[in-house]
Symmetry: C2
Subunit: 130 residues, 2 copies
Amino acid sequence: MTERSDESEAGSRPRARASARQLVPNFDKMHGLVPAVVQEYRTHEVLMVAFMNQEAWELTLSTGYAHYFSRSRNAIWKKGETSGHLQEIREVLIDCDDDSVLLLVNQVEGTACHTGNRSCFYRTVYPSAG
Amino acid sequence: MTERSDESEAGSRPRARASARQLVPNFDKMHGLVPAVVQEYRTHEVLMVAFMNQEAWELTLSTGYAHYFSRSRNAIWKKGETSGHLQEIREVLIDCDDDSVLLLVNQVEGTACHTGNRSCFYRTVYPSAG
C-alpha cells in the first residue's frame, strides 16, 4: 500500500533492486492476509484479486502454482484445481510496504474468472456505458 | 475475488458487458473497504494497491482523481495531494464479485510510489535475484 505516499517523498530516491532472499509479506496488517493482484504475464491484463495467508504464499512459491486463501470457506485453495484453470507463476513481486503482492502468471486455458470471462474485471463503471 | 472460481464453472458463459449504472462495490465484505488495484492506462503496469471506502469511491468518480482510505490514519486521502503525483482516472472496472476494483490512471509525473519508484512493486521475490 502507499498510504504514506504523500508524507515522505522529500529527498526520496529510487531504491536499488532489493535482494529477494528475505522478502516476505507482512501478514499482520490485515489479520493474516495480504491482497494478491494477478496479472497475465504476456498481456499485462489484470485477471483477478485474491487474498493469501502465509501458507498460500509458501505453497505458491514452492509449487509454482498460485494458491490463495478463501475468506468465505476459511481454507486454502489452489486456483484451477477443479476447473483446470491453473495459474503458473512467472514472476512474484512485493510492494514497498510489504503488504500486497503481484503475481505474473501464465493463465492456463486463458480464463481466470468463474463467469467464463478471461478477467474478473469485465465490467466498466467509468466511462459509463449509458 | 474469485473464491468461487472452481465451484461454478460448469455451463457458465461470458456475460454480456453489464450496464454500468448500478455498479457499486460491496463494501460489507471487508468492514467497509475494498482493495483497489491501480494500473497505468498506457503501459498497463500495476502501480500500487490501496483501499477504498464508499466515500473514497464516490470522490474518485465525482472528481476524476483517485482517492483512497488510509487504514493507518483512518482517513480519506487524495493520492498526490501533497506530492503532486495525482492519479487521473481513465477507466474504472469492478470485479465479478463486486469486492475489488481496478483503476486505469494517468499517473501524473510518472511516479506512484513514495520511494520514488514508478511502481510500488519494484522488488522481485521470484525468480530470485540471488
